[in-house]
């Protein structure tokens, strides 16, 4: 087994439709987010009460909201928020979950048992309700949304890492390494981790898209990032009472979420096919 399937993967990737479409969409969203740092059609911090609730037009492509802000600009800046929250919460899951899962696989026995039971415990909590409780303790805000989403990413990555690592431990190349006298920690870092990296990348993509959805949900119930930072979920919340007056306020932020999540899911599917054909038929 080679440690890196990338060179071989490149040509395969270009032929994979999911991967190409997903990468394109994700790329566009990422560019939009980066662009918003230097340029947006209008400033999102300035209100124009007189020009509120305007439907889409040439001057405001996606219309204006109830404070007269440009919705396109809001969506662009809001993408930063979604991406940042999802990214950091995935990073938390990776940074804590993967070592735990690898440790459990390497040690086995009661440590494995305990860690997996803790996993079950976290899984047993309804995620959104727990997020509500977490924000009741710490108050709403982007950081707390990250914590709430991140906590639930930990057991996901722990389970994936442990499962994959367990299937590797009885393999010959690991048995060989053990015969050479390498310790569990060294084997984990030198042999196990590189071989499960693909799997983790795929899972990270999936969790990233779930993170975008979760952030939108939390913001929608008022627990995500706070004004003046625009967020897609809160834009939808504000649109709700005005849906009869200004349906465009509800339409576009929702489309932004769907397109972003769709792009990430396609990218994840594509990556799975490209990086590890064996996994193709799972899920």
């Amino acid at each position: 087994m080679t440690a890196s399937p990338w060179p071989e993967g490149m040509s395969k990737a270009i032929g994979n439709r999911s991967f190409v479409v997903g990468l394109t969409i994700t790329g566009i969203v990422a560019i939009m987010a980066v662009l918003s740092f230097v340029w947006t059609p209008y400033a999102v911090g300035t209100l124009d009460i007189a020009g509120k609730l305007k439907p889409p037009s040439w001057s405001h492509w996606l219309g204006t909201d109830h404070y007269g802000r440009d919705i396109l600009s809001m969506i662009m800046v809001g993408s930063r928020n979604s991406i940042a929250v999802a990214f950091v919460s995935v990073a938390i899951g990776l940074a804590i979950g993967v070592p735990l899962g690898l440790w459990a696989a390497a040690r086995g026995g009661w440590i494995d048992e305990l860690l997996m039971r803790l996993n079950d415990l976290v899984f047993a909590f309804p995620a959104l309700l727990s997020a509500v409780m977490i924000t009741a303790v710490f108050g709403p805000g982007a950081i707390n949304a990250i914590i709430a989403i991140g906590i639930f990413n930990i057991p996901v990555f722990a389970r994936v890492a442990r499962g994959a690592a367990l299937s590797l431990w009885p393999r010959e190349f690991i048995l060989g390494a053990r015969a050479c006298g390498k310790g569990a920690a060294r084997i984990t870092i030198e042999h196990v981790l590189p071989n499960i990296a693909n799997l983790l990348v795929v899972q990270a993509t999936i969790q990233f898209s779930l993170g975008i959805l979760a952030e939108a949900g939390l913001s929608y119930v008022g627990l995500g990032s706070q004004p003046p930072m625009p967020s897609w979920g809160r834009m939808l919340f504000e649109a709700q009472t005005m849906i009869g007056l200004a349906p465009h306020m509800a339409l576009f932020p929702g489309l932004a979420i769907v397109i972003t999540v769709l792009g990430l899911n396609l990218l994840g599917d594509g990556l799975r096919d490209v990086l590890d054909p064996r996994l193709r038929r799972e899920r």
Binding site: G45, T46, I49, A50, Y67, G139, Q226, T241, L245
Partner: protein
């Protein structure tokens, strides 16, 4: 046709008419309310939703507040005041019965007042009873209340929902099964959904015109709009969706009544915390706020700008808004004079209501324009009460003070504004001891001027009472002098 036959015919026709009219007149009503009360005992909770259901309908006090905010007799049919202004003698109505059939007399009054001011009282407005020294039962229909000092507000205070008369037998169970003396009695409560009250056939006074009233709990503005349009709810006395008011105004099936409330909405500032201890900073903040844009943006144009802490519908009101008119340049100048030429960073803690959340967003943007970076911190009510109100751990906040007659909060020691002006405190003491109307008006106006000059808070607007109901309903209150839905005179027009 002989006379007898004629009159018989006329009689029959009349009978037909009246019976068909009786058939046509509806006697049930579904009202929408935004918040579900935690329980429905007005003597043990501050939630406005309690009074919105029970006040004047289920429970009555010695006095009651009328639709214009006036004091009217209720369980006390009359009263006299001693010459020293300290002893009220209340004459009670006779033949009054509680809903459970027990009779009402002076003992119940003594019990209720003593319970409300007692050591283990959980009355949310215990301060209303602070002036009372003793309550004596003279005879079953006479009660003598002696005050510690004369109080111009006492009769008004006894009209609050928190001062209603309850019976010792049912006081413990009123939270779930309220037993009062009013024209309606409690029927049922489906938690999270609705509360039903029905006509009290044995009422001592003028009987209610409705047989049944249902309070349906609809917290969501969009759902409230839909429920009214569909006719599921026929009246929304405090309609939560300012943005759809225009739609109802254009619809002849509905009557839209924009009345006033006692809710002065303010940008509260922590007067002891730098930089808000500096008058110029507070003035700069007040001048940075465009009240019109605020009312248009947050309230969809509903609400009256205020320049001090006083309701515009009060006879003693004076318009002081020009004293803190919108003027960003002046604001920047004042900031520079106060030593903050580049503005400063601060926080703005917001409780849940729409006026606060939307208003906060607009004010934060306006403050940014003069250089003040206010970070928005949304709080639930529990957190707001804990952090802002109790521990005074805040810089700025937006809240509407909806209690009537509450100018005196700026005179309270240790209140969350941390505002301390001895001259103002003196003035409030004088007002409380004055019962002459002309003199009171003069003092009220002086007090308004002090607040407009000192800017202990930026005064924003008076909260409107946005009532929307079926055009055929008569008798609902147009204004909200207290938070109540008095249904005693409500009926369907034919």
């Amino acid at each position: 046709m002989n006379n007898f036959a004629k009159s018989a015919l006329v009689g029959a026709a009349l009978a037909l008419l009246t019976s068909s009219a009786a058939f046509a007149a509806r006697a049930d009503l579904v009202l929408g309310i935004v918040l579900e009360p935690p329980h429905i005992d007005p003597t043990a909770g501050a939630a406005a939703a309690i009074d919105e259901i029970v006040y004047a309908n289920i429970f009555e006090g010695l006095t009651r507040i009328g639709p214009k905010g006036e004091v009217l007799p209720a369980l006390a049919e009359s009263w006299t005041l001693s010459d020293d202004g300290k002893t009220y003698t209340f004459k009670l109505h006779k033949d009054v019965k509680f809903h459970d059939g027990t009779s009402f007399d002076a003992e119940d009054v003594k019990f209720s007042l003593d319970r409300a001011r007692g050591g283990d009282s959980t009355n949310a407005q215990k301060g209303l009873f602070a002036a009372i020294d003793t309550v004596e039962v003279v005879d079953p229909l006479t009660v003598k209340v002696t005050l510690k000092q004369p109080s111009g507000d006492f009769l008004y205070n006894m009209g609050w929902g928190d001062a209603v008369i309850v019976a010792p037998e049912s006081a413990q169970t009123n939270k779930e099964k309220p037993i009062g003396t009013g024209p309606f009695k409690f029927d049922s409560w489906a938690k999270g959904s609705q509360i039903v009250i029905s006509k009290n056939a044995a009422y001592w006074g003028k009987p209610a015109l409705l047989d049944k009233a249902t309070f349906r709990i609809i917290p969501d503005p969009a759902a409230a709009t839909a429920a009214l349009l569909a006719g599921d709810v026929q009246a929304f006395p405090v309609f939560p969706s300012y943005e759809t008011i225009a739609q109802f105004e254009a619809d002849p099936r509905f009557k839209v009544v924009i009345g006033t409330t006692e809710g002065e909405t303010i940008l509260g500032m922590n007067n002891k915390k730098p930089p808000f201890d500096n008058l110029k900073v507070r003035q700069a903040i007040a001048h940075a706020i465009d009240r019109k844009a605020l009312i248009d943006g947050a309230m969809f144009g509903l609400g009256t700008p205020i320049g001090s802490f006083f309701p515009p519908h009060h006879p003693a009101y004076i318009d002081l808004t020009s004293q803190t008119a919108f003027d960003p340049e002046l604001s920047k100048k004042l900031l520079a004079e106060a030593g903050h030429p580049d503005g400063f960073k601060t926080t703005l803690k917001l409780p849940p209501p729409t006026y606060a959340r939307r208003g906060g967003e607009i004010i934060a943007a306006e403050l940014r324009d003069v250089g003040i970076q206010a970070e928005i911190v949304p709080l639930e009510w529990a957190q707001w009460l804990d952090q802002v109100f109790k521990n005074k751990d805040y810089d700025m906040t937006i809240v509407s003070h909806t209690e009537p007659n509450d100018l005196n909060i700026f005179a309270r020691d240790d209140y969350y504004f941390n505002y301390d002006n001895p001259a103002f405190k003196d003035l409030i003491k004088q007002i409380e001891a004055t019962s002459d109307d002309a003199k009171r008006t003069e003092l009220y106006q002086e007090a308004q001027k002090i607040l407009a000059t000192d800017v202990p808070a930026a005064f924003l607007f008076q909260l409107p009472k946005t009532g929307v109901w079926d055009a055929k309903i008569e008798g609902l209150w147009e204004n909200g002098p207290i938070q109540a839905n008095d249904l005693t005179a409500v009926k369907w027009a034919d």
